[in-house]
């Protein structure tokens, strides 16, 4: 790493501390789905067996934060073990433990994002300023400063993408596939929609197919599958091993065999693994069936159609608090500038690709074009896949394609202005700095909605730039 990169990294980490990490324990009140996630995390701490619609790793890390920091000594949290949805949190409960790892990972993501961009465009200044897209995105910030799964998931996704980019231009060995499998497996063990990372493997395999024989591809595929598999089995083993006591409030999908395993203290016995896994997978499958479908006619519906996500539809009011004429909000609302850049980048990437394929437009830089092609393929695949899911989905399900659209924005900028960037052209650099400052300005302007700062009704209304975001003030 050069000295310059080190400076940029220090600056990013410093700024990221303030945008993502600082004061993350506040408000000490439940936000969005923390009712569910903290209830699950506490069960790991108290060794209560339970089943979950999400894979276990995210909840385990939420629990680990509470175990390491243990800020709630002396507070009775036993009722968390008797429910899957905490209605009343004890007074004086600190959220600093439960929120620690999601927030820490969100902070570290800035470094990963910088390395991804730097690896792609080999321009530290562009990577540095490009990282502002993640660093100052109000929606990702809001969601990441809570005990939620997405920041942890994004961490492993960024690890996978960084590894994918780092090894894309080298001769890949089976070990590289194994590591990609491990990172993808870790992301998959946090949230199932990380399965999109399978496309990274496919892109590698497709490229390798052109230059090496089929037998080697088979070995590499096995290595990748082994990486994913070992994480899958390892995380589930840990999930079972931690559940030593039967829950009192719910039967989940525990079979007689599973109950008997718990009673006989055999949860850590690998021989019982398949029985427990079968029951868990059955529960996950049935739970998904019970999730309501999107109903846009329902008053107060927080869900949204995937097609509207790139435009920021729809914002979600996670919590609010009224003090006379002032209202504090935690609102899932993106930074309009970063989201607009992301939406334009994904659209223009498609235009570029269509231009090359249909109209034989000459390719300026094959290496960058291939990356644009790969990431656009992932973006479209993800959006197509979620478009086929009938259950209700929310704006934060767009975070994966959103961050990919940010990568596309930097790739496109480099593709169009490569020579100027290399020559440090003043107009281009000045423009990039102006875009970065617009990102910082709008982050600051929308920051009251991200950091629970009081706003008057007029101040809130000043932030409703587009009606379809559905930002609604509390009167």
């Amino acid at each position: 790493m050069t000295k310059k990169i080190n400076y940029y990294l220090v600056l990013l980490v410093f700024m990221g501390f303030y945008t993502y990490f600082y004061n993350y324990q506040n408000p000490p009140k439940q936000i969005w789905d923390e009712n569910y996630h903290i209830a699950s995390a506490q069960k790991y701490i108290d060794h209560i067996a339970f089943m979950e619609p999400h894979p276990p790793l995210g909840k385990m890390l939420i629990a680990l934060g509470e175990v390491i920091l243990h800020p709630n000594k002396g507070i009775d949290k036993s009722n968390f073990d008797r429910t899957d949805y905490i209605k009343n949190f004890p007074k004086n409960l600190s959220f600093s433990g439960y929120r620690f790892f999601p927030t820490l990972f969100a902070w570290l993501n800035i470094v990963l994002f910088f390395f991804i961009l730097n690896e792609l465009v080999k321009s530290d200044i562009l990577a540095f300023l490009g990282s502002f897209l993640y660093l100052f995105d109000n929606a990702i910030i809001v969601h990441s400063r809570t005990a939620m799964l997405e920041p942890i998931q994004l961490f492993f996704i960024f690890c996978s993408i960084l590894w994918f980019v780092k090894k894309s231009e080298t001769k890949r060995e089976w070990e590289d596939y194994l590591i990609l499998g491990i990172f993808s497996g870790l992301a998959l063990m946090v949230k199932a929609n990380s399965a999109i990372l399978f496309l990274l493997f496919l892109i590698w395999a497709f490229k390798d197919l052109k230059i090496i024989e089929l037998a080697k591809i088979v070995t590499k595929s096995i290595a990748y599958a082994f990486g994913v598999g070992i994480i899958f089995l390892g995380v589930f083993y840990l999930h079972f091993a931690l559940g030593k006591k039967l829950p009192t409030h719910k039967k989940y999908a525990f079979s007689k065999e599973y109950i008997s395993i718990i009673k006989k203290n055999g949860v850590a016995n690998p021989l019982n693994f398949t029985t427990m896994l079968k029951d868990n997978l059955k529960y996950m499958k049935n739970y998904e069936k019970g999730v309501p479908k999107l109903n846009l006619c329902k008053p107060g519906e927080n869900g949204s159609l995937f097609i509207g996500w790139p435009l920021g539809i729809k914002a979600i009011n996670y919590r609010w608090e009224k003090h006379g004429p002032l209202v504090k909000y935690i609102y899932l609302q993106g930074n309009p500038v970063t989201w607009a850049i992301g939406a334009m980048a994904s659209f223009l990437s498609i235009v570029l690709i269509v231009g090359v394929i249909v109209f034989n437009t000459p390719i300026k830089n094959t290496r960058i074009f291939e990356y644009i092609l790969s990431f656009t393929f992932i973006y479209i695949s993800y959006m197509t896949a979620v478009g086929m899911i009938p259950r209700v989905m929310y704006l934060y399900h767009y975070f994966i394609p959103l961050t990919i659209s940010y990568i596309l924005a930097i790739l496109l900028l480099y593709y169009l202005f490569e020579e100027e960037i290399k020559k440090n052209d003043k107009i281009v650099l000045f423009s990039i700095v102006l875009i970065a400052s617009a990102i910082v300005f709008t982050w600051w302007f929308y920051s009251p909605l991200s950091y629970y700062k009081p706003l008057t009704l007029e101040e809130f209304n000043q932030r409703i730039w587009l009606g379809y975001w559905q930002l609604h003030p509390i009167r």
């Binding site: 004429p325 500038v337 169009l416 202005f417 107009i427 423009s431 102006l434 009704l457």
Partner: protein, 202 residues
């Protein structure tokens, strides 16, 4: 592309133009969403049915709202573009109060659409009214206003069913020109008539 002999425009300038567009978009949004409140709206919920403007109110919830325009569009829900849905459906009255200032004597054309009734009073003199219930319909009256500061008061009631009230005005040197001029929402100022900002806010 060349301009004159000196400046050569290329894709770098397109990028710069894009950046300025972003900043212009930010500036426009902040400016256009900044509001100056000019009307105080006192909303009073009645615990018993109201069927005409002057029916007694059996007072329930009462609140004051400060708004920048008299604009509650027709509909099933009481809604203001800047305040969102207000949770009033039936049997309530609203008292709108504002001050306006003109620099010269001129004709003012007041147009009120309402569901249900209303009364428009300028300096304690009734100008226009419809006191019973009705669907969203128009009432119009032109008055001559002397230069200076004037108090405008509008009383509105909603019985049941659909609801809404929107008020407009236009200014002219003659009755005809006032009638034909562009209509502006009450609360929004124009060159010839200014609504005075309120000291309070929500």
């Amino acid at each position: 592309m060349d301009i004159g002999n000196s400046i050569r425009l290329d894709k770098r300038h397109a990028l710069l133009l894009f950046v300025f567009t972003i900043w212009a978009w930010i500036g426009f949004n902040i400016y256009s969403h900044a509001t100056v409140n000019t009307i105080k709206a006192t909303i009073v919920q009645s615990m018993k049915p109201i069927r005409s403007l002057d029916d007694n109110i059996f007072q329930g919830k009462k609140e004051a709202l400060y708004i920048e325009s008299l604009n509650f569009p027709k509909g099933n829900k009481f809604y203001h573009p800047h305040h969102g849905f207000l949770h009033y459906k039936k049997n309530f009255k609203i008292f709108f109060d504002t001050y306006m200032e003109t620099t010269k004597d001129q004709y003012i054309d007041f147009v009120i659409y309402s569901d249900d009734g209303f009364r428009l009073v300028v300096d304690k003199k009734t100008v226009l009214e419809f006191t019973k219930d009705r669907p969203f319909k128009k009432s119009e009256k032109i008055i001559r206003l002397k230069s200076g500061k004037h108090h405008l008061h509008i009383k509105y009631f909603q019985g049941y069913g659909q609801l809404g009230i929107a008020g407009y005005y236009s200014v002219g040197k003659s009755i005809q020109s006032a009638k034909n001029s562009k209509k502006i929402l009450i609360g929004k100022s124009c060159d010839d008539l200014r609504f005075l900002p309120l000291g309070n806010s929500n």
